[in-house]
Structures are given as C-alpha cells and as structure tokens.
Symmetry: D3
Subunit: 294 residues, 6 copies
Amino acid sequence: MAVKEKEKIMQSALEKANILVEALPYIKKFSGKTVVIKYGGHAMLNTELKQAVMTDLVLMKFVGINPVVVHGGGPDITGMLNRLGIESQFIGGLRVTDSSTMEVVEMVLGKLNKEIVSFINQLGGRGIGLSGKDANLIMAAKKLGKDQADIGFVGEVENINPQLLKTVIEEGYIPVISPVGVGQEGETYNINADTAAGALATALQADKLMILTDVEGILADRNTKESLLSVIQTEEIPALIEQGVIQGGMIPKVECCVKAIQGGVNTTHILDGRVPHSILLEVFTDKGIGTMVK
Amino acid sequence: MAVKEKEKIMQSALEKANILVEALPYIKKFSGKTVVIKYGGHAMLNTELKQAVMTDLVLMKFVGINPVVVHGGGPDITGMLNRLGIESQFIGGLRVTDSSTMEVVEMVLGKLNKEIVSFINQLGGRGIGLSGKDANLIMAAKKLGKDQADIGFVGEVENINPQLLKTVIEEGYIPVISPVGVGQEGETYNINADTAAGALATALQADKLMILTDVEGILADRNTKESLLSVIQTEEIPALIEQGVIQGGMIPKVECCVKAIQGGVNTTHILDGRVPHSILLEVFTDKGIGTMVK
Amino acid sequence: MAVKEKEKIMQSALEKANILVEALPYIKKFSGKTVVIKYGGHAMLNTELKQAVMTDLVLMKFVGINPVVVHGGGPDITGMLNRLGIESQFIGGLRVTDSSTMEVVEMVLGKLNKEIVSFINQLGGRGIGLSGKDANLIMAAKKLGKDQADIGFVGEVENINPQLLKTVIEEGYIPVISPVGVGQEGETYNINADTAAGALATALQADKLMILTDVEGILADRNTKESLLSVIQTEEIPALIEQGVIQGGMIPKVECCVKAIQGGVNTTHILDGRVPHSILLEVFTDKGIGTMVK
Amino acid sequence: MAVKEKEKIMQSALEKANILVEALPYIKKFSGKTVVIKYGGHAMLNTELKQAVMTDLVLMKFVGINPVVVHGGGPDITGMLNRLGIESQFIGGLRVTDSSTMEVVEMVLGKLNKEIVSFINQLGGRGIGLSGKDANLIMAAKKLGKDQADIGFVGEVENINPQLLKTVIEEGYIPVISPVGVGQEGETYNINADTAAGALATALQADKLMILTDVEGILADRNTKESLLSVIQTEEIPALIEQGVIQGGMIPKVECCVKAIQGGVNTTHILDGRVPHSILLEVFTDKGIGTMVK
Amino acid sequence: MAVKEKEKIMQSALEKANILVEALPYIKKFSGKTVVIKYGGHAMLNTELKQAVMTDLVLMKFVGINPVVVHGGGPDITGMLNRLGIESQFIGGLRVTDSSTMEVVEMVLGKLNKEIVSFINQLGGRGIGLSGKDANLIMAAKKLGKDQADIGFVGEVENINPQLLKTVIEEGYIPVISPVGVGQEGETYNINADTAAGALATALQADKLMILTDVEGILADRNTKESLLSVIQTEEIPALIEQGVIQGGMIPKVECCVKAIQGGVNTTHILDGRVPHSILLEVFTDKGIGTMVK
Amino acid sequence: MAVKEKEKIMQSALEKANILVEALPYIKKFSGKTVVIKYGGHAMLNTELKQAVMTDLVLMKFVGINPVVVHGGGPDITGMLNRLGIESQFIGGLRVTDSSTMEVVEMVLGKLNKEIVSFINQLGGRGIGLSGKDANLIMAAKKLGKDQADIGFVGEVENINPQLLKTVIEEGYIPVISPVGVGQEGETYNINADTAAGALATALQADKLMILTDVEGILADRNTKESLLSVIQTEEIPALIEQGVIQGGMIPKVECCVKAIQGGVNTTHILDGRVPHSILLEVFTDKGIGTMVK
C-alpha cells in the first residue's frame, strides 16, 4: 500500500476513534438506564430505517443501556383485514374492533413482533417477543368511544405487571412488546401503542420514553421545519394545544408523554422516525433531535 | 343441615383427602422435574379438553413439576390459508411451504400461542408465549422433501438455545412454544411440532416427553382398544414397524420418542389427548395411560 | 382385561384427576404460606390418625405450603412420671413442675419429637426436630400460679427467635417443635403447647394457626354436633365465654387464637383431631371443618 | 492506683496479648475447617470440665473454626434404666438393647443433647441439637453381636446425609448430635458415639476428629504417663494392638480413627477429657495433648 | 522428659487456654464490626512495635473483626524533602505544601503504604494498599491556613466514597490507606491522617476509631501518668481544653474523635502507640488503655 | 439557525451515528473479555497521548470490555535517582538495583500509578491502583544477571494471585498495576513491566495483551514504515530474530507475547503508543495497527 493511502486510512481511523470517545459521556450518563421506544410508522416500513433502528437497539444494549420496544402494526393490519374481506364498522368516526378484527390485529402484531425479534438476533442482540398477555404483562379494560359508544375490543391499560420484563432485561434480553392487553376474563384488547409504551415506561421507571413518529417533532409553525420546538415543558402544553401548535394525532402522543413524566419517567421524546438512527442521535448527542417533553 | 347430609359431606371430603394423599408419591417423584408436552389435535379443539389440559399444566407447576408446552396449529392454519385464498403446491405429496404460507403459519401459531398463555394465566398460572425465534431458541435449517425436492420453508432443528427457557422456568413461568425455527440468515422455518418438542425435551434434559394424539396409543391389533401396548422398549420398535403395528403418522412420533430417549429424556409417552386430564393421569397414576416408549 | 373393567379403571382415574384439579385453587391460595399446627390429643395416640396427620404435613410441604408442628406430650409424660414414682404436688389445683418433673417432661417430649420427625421422613418429607432451647428458639420466663403461687418450672413465652426456623423452612425441612422454653440463665421451662404454637405462628407471621383438639370445635349447644359454629369473630368471644358456650379448656385455646390474630396471623382454627386428614380438609376445602376464629 | 500496681496490670495485659498473638498461626491454620468432637466421659460429668469444653466450642466457632459435637450418654442412661427397673439381658457379655431400653437411651440422650445446646447458648454460641433421625442424618442398620447374636436395636452406620449439618454450620450454628440412628423402616438404633463421630467427620470431610476419653492417650507403658505416644501412624497400629499397647476399649476408638483417616479426615486425636480445655490445647498448641493418629 | 517438666508445660498451656477463653466475650462483642486505626508515630518507627501492630491487625481480622488502617508518614517525608533539597516555605507557622512537596508526600506515603501491606501479608493476612485517589475514596477540597493564607495542596475531606472499602473488607482484605485526597479537578491534596481516619470511620459506620499516639492518653496532670483519664465524655471536652488539660496537637485529635462520634462511630480512643499490642489490649480487655472519648 | 446549517449538523450527527454503529461488531466480539495493556514510553509522557489512552480505557470499560493496565516508570525513575544523587552500579551492562534504588523505583511507580488512577477517575471511570504487593498479587524471586551476577532486587515472576484483580474487575473497577513484585520473605523486587503484563494476562486468561511501544511495530525493513508486519505467527519468530528483523529491546517484548499466547492469551499486540487512541483502534478496527503476534 502506498504511504499516502496508509496515512489516509490512519486519519480516518483516528476520526472514528474520536467519535467513539465523544460518545463516552453519553454512555456513562445512561449506563444501566431503561429506555422505552415506541416503534412505528415509516421506520417500520422502510428496510434501511428498520435496519438502523434495530442496530441502535443492539448497540444500546451492548453499551449498557436497556432498550424496551413497543411496536405498532399499522398498514399490515389494514392489509390483512382487506385480504380477509373483513369490513370495519365505524362509530363516531372510530373503527370498531369486533372479535374477528381483534383476531387479525393480534395475528399481524404477533408476526411483526417476531420479525423484529429475529432482526435483533441477526444483529447479535438477544431479542424476546412478548405481548401484553404474557404473564399478564398488560392488564386492560374495555374503553368506550365517544358518547359511550361500544367500539369493541379497544382497551385501556388498567395495570402493568412488569416483573417478567425486569427479569428478561436483567438477563440481557431486549424485550419487544405487542400492544395487546388482556382483560379480567382473559379477553383480548387492542391497546394504542403509544399508550402502552407510556404505561410500560412508567411501570419500569424508565429514564426515557421515545416515540418514533413520521414528523420532525412539534413545529411552532407547521410550515417551516426550522420552527421545531426542541424542548417543551409539560406546563406549556395546554396553551400549545389551544394555539393549534399541538393538534390532531400529536395530542394523544403528547398527553402520553405528560402522563409518563408525571409517573416518574425522566424525559420523553417525540422523534422523527424517518431520520436514520434517530434513537442513537437522541441518546448520543447533546441537542438530540425532535421535541423533548419534560 | 341435617346430620345425614353433614355426614355425607364429611364422607366425600375424606374421600377427596385420600385421593390427594394418594398423589403424594407422584408429586415427590417428579418434584423439580421438567415435562415437555406436545399439545395438539382434539385436545386443542374441544373446549372442555382444552380446559382440562390447561388445568393439568397449572396444577403440575404448583405442585413443583415444570411443564413446557409445544403446540401445533393444525386446522386453524388450513382455515386461514383458505380464507386468504392461498393455494398450496404439492411436491411428492407434501405441501410446499412458500413464503406467504409460512407467514400465515407463523401468524396463526402466534395467535394460538397467546390464547394458550392467556388460558394458563386465567387459571392462576404464569404463562409466557415464545416462538423458536425468541433468543434464537430453535435454530433451524432447510429440510428437503423426497428426492431432494424443495418444499420451501420446512425446517429441521439444528440447535436449541435453552438458556431463556431455563431462566423463565426457574422464575416460575410456564413456557408455551410455537414450533417456528429460525435460520442462520434469520429466515423463518416451519418445524414439525413433535420434533420440536422432542428436541426441546432433549435440550432441557426433561424427565418426560408427552405427545398428545388422537388415538389410544399404540395398539397391537388396530381393531381392539384392549390390545393397547402400555410399554414398548426402543429396541422393539423396528420389528413393530415392520409388522405394521406402528404405521403411518405414528412412525415419526415414535422416532421422535426414540431420539429423545437417546438424548437423555427419561421416559416418553404417546397419550390419548381425547381423554380429559390425560397428562395428569399419566403423571399421577401408576399405570399411566397410552403407550410409554422407554 | 375386559373392556368393562378398563372403563371402570379409567372412570375412577378421571374422578381422581378431577379431585386433584379441585385442589388447585387451594394450592395456589396457600402457596409459600406458613401454617403452624398444634398437634396433640387423640391424633397423637391413634396410629391411623397419626399416619394421616403426618401425610397431610408432607403433602402440604410438597405442594408448596410450609407446615410447622408444635406437639404436646400428654399421657406419655404422666405415664413416665408414674413409672418413675415421681409424685406431683398440686397448688391451687395446678400441678407443680419441680426440676425432676421438668426433666421427665423434657425427655418424653424429646422422644415424641423424634418419633414425629422419623414418621415424616418415612413418608418422604424432611423433618427436623427442635426444642425451644435450640438457638434459643423459645425464650421463656417463670410463670406464677394463682395467688402468685410458685408452680415450679412452668414458663410463659418471653421472646421467639425465629431465624433458625426460617432457615430450615426455606431449605425445605418441616420443623417439629417441643414446647420447652429456656430462661435467661439457661433454666428449662415447660410451656403450654397451644401457647407455644400461637407465639411461633405470630413470630413467623404464619397464614394459619391450627389447633388439633378432641372435640368437633365450638358448639353453640354442647349437646348437638349440628350446632357447630363454623366461624367466630374475635369480638364475639367475650359474650360466648360469658354464655358458657366457650368454657373450660377451650378458653385458653381460644385466647391463644385471639392473640395470634392480633399478632398478624391470618386465620386460626380449632380442629377436630379425631377426624382423619382434618388438616388437609381445612386447607383444601371451602367450608373447612371445626371452628375458625378470625 | 499506685504506679506499681498499674505497671503490674499492664504487664499482665501484655502477657495476655502475647498469648493471643501466639494463637494466630493456629487460628489461620484452622480457619473455616470443621472439627468433629466426640464428647463423653468425665468431661460430661464434672461441671468445671463441662464449662471448659463448652467454652472451647464457642471460642472455636467465633474464631472461624466449625465444631460439631457428638455426645455419649453413659451413666445417665444406666441411672434411668435402674430407676425404671428395666433389667438388661446380656448375650455374650453384651447388653441387649430391647425396645424399652432403646426408648430410655433415646430419651436420656435427648435430654443431655438439649442440656449441651443450652450451655453453648448461655456462653453466646448458637447451638442446635439434632439426633440421627433429623433429616435422616444417620441412617443405620441392625448390628449383630458375637456369633450373630441378636442384641436388639444396636445399629451400625449405613449412610450419613450431611446436608442439614452443612446448612446449619454455614449459618453459624454449632450442631450437637445424639448418636441415634434410623433404619430403612424408621426403626431407632443405638449407635456407638465414637463410631458416629467418625462417620460424621468423614461425611463432612472434617479436618480433625477428636475423641475425648478418660485416659492420657495411648501409653507405651501403661504404668507411666511419661510414656505417652504423641503421634502414631495408622500403619503402626496392628503391631501396637498385638503388643497390647492398644487394648480393650481403646481398640475400637483407634479403629474409628483409622477409618476416619482413610475416609479423608486429616488428623484424629485421642484426648484426655479430664484436662480442662483439652480441645483448645489440641487446636492451639504445637505439641497438642494426647495421642494423634494420622 | 521429666514429669515435672511436663507438668510445667501443661500448666503453662492451661494458662494460655484460659487467656484465650477470657478473650471470648470481646471476640463476640466485636465480631463483624469495623475498627479504623490511625497508625503513626513511634509505632511506625520501631520494628518491634510495627510487628506488634501488624500482628494485632491480622489477629483481629482472623477472629472476625474488620480493621482498616490509615497511616501517617512523618519523619520519612521530612527526610526525603531534605534529601531532595526541597525547602519548605512557612506561612503563619504552617508548612506550605507546594506541588513538589506534595509529590514527595505522596511518593513517601505510597512506599510506606505498600510496606505495611507487605508486612500484613507476611503475617498471613491479606493487605491491600489504597490511597484516597483509588475509586475517588477521599474527595477533598483546598484548605486555607490562618487568615485565609494559601498553604498549597493541604486539603480537607469533602466526601468519602466507601464502596470500594466495603467490597474489599467483605472479601476478607485489610485495607491500608494513605491520607491523600483528590479534588474535583483531579488535583492531589495532603490530608491530615487523623482527620482522614475519622472521616473514614464515619463513612464506614465503624464501631471504633483508634488513634495511635506517642503519649499515654489524656492526662489530668501532665506530670503524672497516674492521672490518665480513662474515659471522657464529648461534653466535658470544651472545659478540658479551657483548663489546658487537652492542648496542642491533642486538640485536633480529640476534635476528630468528637466528630466521628457525632457521625455515628460508637467509641473513639487515643492510644499509646509506644505500648506493644495497644490495639489488641484496647479491644480485648475491659479497661482498655489510653483515653476513650465517647 | 439557517436550514443549511441545520442540515450540516444533522449530516455530521448521522456520520457519528454510523461510526458508532460500525463499532458494534467489535463491542460484541470483546464484550466481557479482559484486555491487559502494558502502558509506557511516549504515551506516558505526552499529555495528549496520555489523555487518549485513559479515555480509551474508560470507554472500553463502559462498553463492557475489561482493561487492566500495567505501567512502566522510565524517565521519572532516572530523574529521581539523579535528584537524590544515587549512582547506579553496572554489572555486565545491567544496572544493579540496590535497596536504595529499589526504594526510589517503588516510590516513583507508586506516584505514577495513582496519577493514572486519578486520570481514569476524572474521566468517569473507577480506577484502582495496585502494586504486586497488594494481596501478594505478584510473587517474585531474585533474578540473576549474566554469568549469574547479582544485580540486586531485580525479580522474575514466580506466581500471580489474581483473585483480588478478579474481584475488582467484576465490581466494575479498572485496575492499574505497578510492576513491583514481592518475595517469600516480603522483599521488594523490580519486575520488567512487559513481563508483568504478560504474566498477569496469562493468570487472568485475558483475551488480548497489548504492549504500547515507541515504534510502529515490527518492520520487515527497519527503514520503511510501509514494511510493517501486521501479523506474525509465533513459529516465525526464531527466523525473524535470526534475520535481525526482531532485535534489541523488541526481542524480550516478543518473547513475552509468545509466552502469553502459550499461556492461553488469545492475541498479543505490539502497538505504536505514539499514535493517539492506538488501543481503541486495535480493538475497534479490523486491520488494527501495529503487529499482532499470535
């Protein structure tokens, strides 16, 4: 090899070393902490993003941080419902989860769950896929729609039994959780994945809750990315909702963050899942990305 | 209450106590031992039988025996394939498991898996549902059909990583396992549930392997139930196959038993899953039921 | 075997299985709990009853419940005193326990203690016989008789040091305890076995205290067994004593139950030791037998 | 206080310190080791000697050595047999242990056992009294007399189950053991205390076995104490027996030492129990006292 | 050996045994307790005294007491400063510890530290030498002299991180500590050894703090040793200082004791390090030696 | 912030994330492994290099790799000897380590040792400084010079007692070790730091031994850096020495590597300590730097 080339290699190696070294303070800071990640949206669809998320999880585990994944199911569920010709009834604009829909939801989530686990294992991690039914992890109760409408097997979290999670985290596994809840009589409930992630983060007294979304975060002005709010305090939120800065689907996500913080989670984050390694960037850089709610 | 009635109650209570006392030697004998149960067939379809099996599992766990369940999926898989209009190709009489079939298999098994878990939890046990993908529990490789035909994602067990199972058993959980294997590249394989159960029993050095079937056991004369062979030795098997006493679908089941015994499992049992509490009867009575291969 | 006969066997086996299954809720309920049993009276004299009690203890231990036995000595002590020609002095109707009497009491209790232990071991349990002297388990002080009369080495419990018991229970042994206490100066005291059992149940924070007696329990009308009071509340007791429903030797037993409940024991039971398996029936049936004081 | 007096006090304190310091190498040498002591003879009868032995045991435990006591019963047994008017039959010069004799033996041993325990506890140790029946510690079988004569419930050690002992030693207790064995059917056997001590020392892989006797040790010339043999090798023993140097009751004691050494015990000692603190002197001085068999 | 001689040996052995036995109550009393010893002055210079101190430490450890040593450096430091021609500046009568002085202090302390460790190891203990820098054991901050004068790298204890000490004590080591502190920026501070010992005793919640000095203790009348105050209460101290009974270099030592007691140390002792085995005498005799501050 | 700037920041963040991700396979590979590093030469003198080495150590520890440092003392020792006017005698070209020289060596090493520890702690690691005297870590014996010349307190490693190291590594500390050995009589020996590092790597069954030097590694042609031999096999070494490729001071280093490999160390490395982060580059890149001996 020519001298020049060698020097170039060495130069690049040193740059790499320096970047590793820069990560040290973050590794120290989060060592032994638990981070719950709501994984969904684009980051589940795009192969490259998926790969990036999985790598981030495995890397975190190896440097001593404990990730817990709660995933959604989105388009695959709709796809399967369509393939099976199951038509959904809507009450007050909400899809009713009847028993055959619930069965499809559970099946699709189960398949996605094991896919994620398998991906983690391929990368050298040790994933374990669970649903809220395992060891009664997520106990749930029926949730009513608007005007007390019966919207079927949609549930809200009643109680989290985190002992199994604690055991598997302690033993070095990365738990991947389907947001399926179980009722007092063993009935199955569909739980919103953001809510499930928040409840689990609280029960585990996680240091961070990260919600991967398909937006940059919360923008002061919806039209310019530059207006991203890096940090918002829980007390500013009512005003931001009133002003329409936080609106639509973002409202429940933010409420979920607030509840987690009130429950003892240190910081919560609305991240842009479309950016590769957004999880890693959040953990390993000072500024982070997206919006932190604290 | 009249005196007579009271005496009757007391009489019946004493009979109950005596039966519990009769169970003591069996409880002592199997205390701390692991029993792997292949759960399938009628016992999965009939609600009453299902209830009986689940109760047997929970009871075993409470009296200090460690059950591990490996379940099949049978009719539900076919049903879902039909509903989705997935037609199967057949090579040499064997159904080819292409990727869309495999996806359905995995989804249906996943749903059944959590159903079993939930049933166990309802009865006061602590079930946890796993597939061979979790923590790479069942590593598998592609299996070829007759004449080296490619029959798709049908796998054979290459390696069992039992550490996760040992941890959850030790922590008091009842593991329920879908017979899905994972390949070196993360690909999914359909594994025969009997084979998976046998391999897991070996890897766990289980005391017993029980295969629930829809027949009485092995009959010397297929036409009379009275000809049930209670015990057969592994060395008698080749002759029994040649004589046609062991035939058809029973052959791989028996071979699976032989392999487990050679791998260190103490006894293996072909049980009649149509009899309620057949598992309990096998563990808690001297004669047992069905055919023991040892 | 004829088909009929086989069917009969199977039928009976299924009945057995059903009874085991009925026991499950009780096994779950008392799993890991400690039950202190005062063993005395007829149940110690009759061989068949003795066998039944010992079996109950071993069975409980195997299904995860922790029995602790405190035994009396009754007739054997009197027999030995007679054989040795030791005449007892009586003050105010109470037998004075002088040092030679105490020596006999201790010896006879010691012999009975090891007999019980040996019986437990024969049945597959792991018994260990202790007296209040071992590791200062029962620290006692001199108790005076009526009008402050000196009645010799009769003691009352001053303090229980339960550490040794906790260790042996944890390690899987069934402790069998002679109600002998030890004073500050190492002197030996005879302790009432009911009282010792109550004090131990309190110190161990047992779930149940069971006192085996030679009566049905507490009868509202002494003349009819049908008048058995299944449950009495501690607050009803003063009235029941005044009415003469609770009287004579039953009064201290009931007081002992009250004290245990005040000390944190969950339920206490006056059982009929003349009924075989009364302990098991109390634990494994809804109604129980005898009188529960709670 | 006068200066002189003070200096004297200080002088004596320094001498004490020096003696403690001299003990250090022995403390180091035996730290964590187990020493089995056969306690019997004069040392059990004389109050002062008893006190000295008990103190030695407690001191050893506190400095990190683990004593295990096996005691005899001697004169107390004969006394009680006499008081009860039980006459012994003799066959071939050996007392026959019939069942009523055995009962007395067990009772008296039990009483002595708890006396020793209580003494240890008074001195600040934590004694626990066991017999060979506890957790089947000493399994025994019937031993025949000369010419196969039936001499009743005299047993020989068949098997030691040392787990219970290991647990209580580890937890800081000093076990005190009555040499009572238990047979396959639960029958009680009288075991020679020396033999029991030897078998326990072997099962515990003790560092030392010490047998307290009422003689100086083995004397080359029975008439002069100065002829004490400080050390004898196991291979010298047959000759010494032939010469009559080892004779009578000393022969089984020496054989018991030889067996223990062959079983892995490091050294065995025939000590003069009439010398106060003979145990301590053996452990904490170079020369030791009595005769060491190795 | 002549009989007389033998008897003499035996006599002396018995005396030794008695002295060991007398130590038992003290061994019991301090079993498992931590004792912090400030080691300095004559006891570090005189070979015989050094040997005595080291033996005391090892003996304590073997009988279950946990010594922790903090040593000074005294004359060796001055010697090395002289050899290196480093002249000290004095401000307000206090030597200024500039960086080159600090370097010498640390080097000399380090050498002495390992000498002590090696001595302990030679005697069969397991010493481990640490400075306040190890695992940030002693965090310190700059201390100013009189009138806020800058006296260089003289530090006061800010915080003790005792975890490392607890680990090594638990694992059976004797920690030996140089009184060197470390600042927030990693700078090195010279800490007064008495102060360091007091702070460590507090952080470890030691039972005793012993300060070895070159005087008898606190004398009521400086001119007569007989006037030694065996015990002083912390509340008497201000008066004693005012009266000049406690004066000069003794004042900070006594203040250090007071602070330790206020911090939860049970007793503190000003001992005469010139008396061999003064540590042992303090622990193993009733009167102790020197002055106890409590 | 302008959009461009933001994009730049994000770009750079992504590059950082990618580099972290690239490190994952190495982190996985060495997770839980022990790496012994001989630290000396330029890397100890240059502040920037020192900082880089310390950061590498702390980073390794945080990502789950266990570094153990053995350091030299070089110029500081000579400097101090000069300052103290200690002149060295030379025998056969070797400096004789007399007792006053040894004292200086030990003091200077001790000071450097705590400097390294303090540096590690400043960076958030938990360093602990030890010498071979602590818990008799490095037992040594006198080494003779050429022609059996007495060269004073130069020692060779006789035995390593790694228990203390294992404990502190397990508890999360980074041990830093001065290459000082201790003889049977407690005498101090100067040990070559490369040799000490090799012996410790062997005793700890380390995965890697890294020797930091002031050269690029082993060059096939001393005059061109490009001729660096990346890997040499132990069997090639004799020829390379004969050819003069390995010569002078490199010979003992290479021999030390060979010995470590024969002792079970996986790979050994001669690294260029003048390159910043050479340790990290060796662990976290495929090619590594310097010469690997395996």
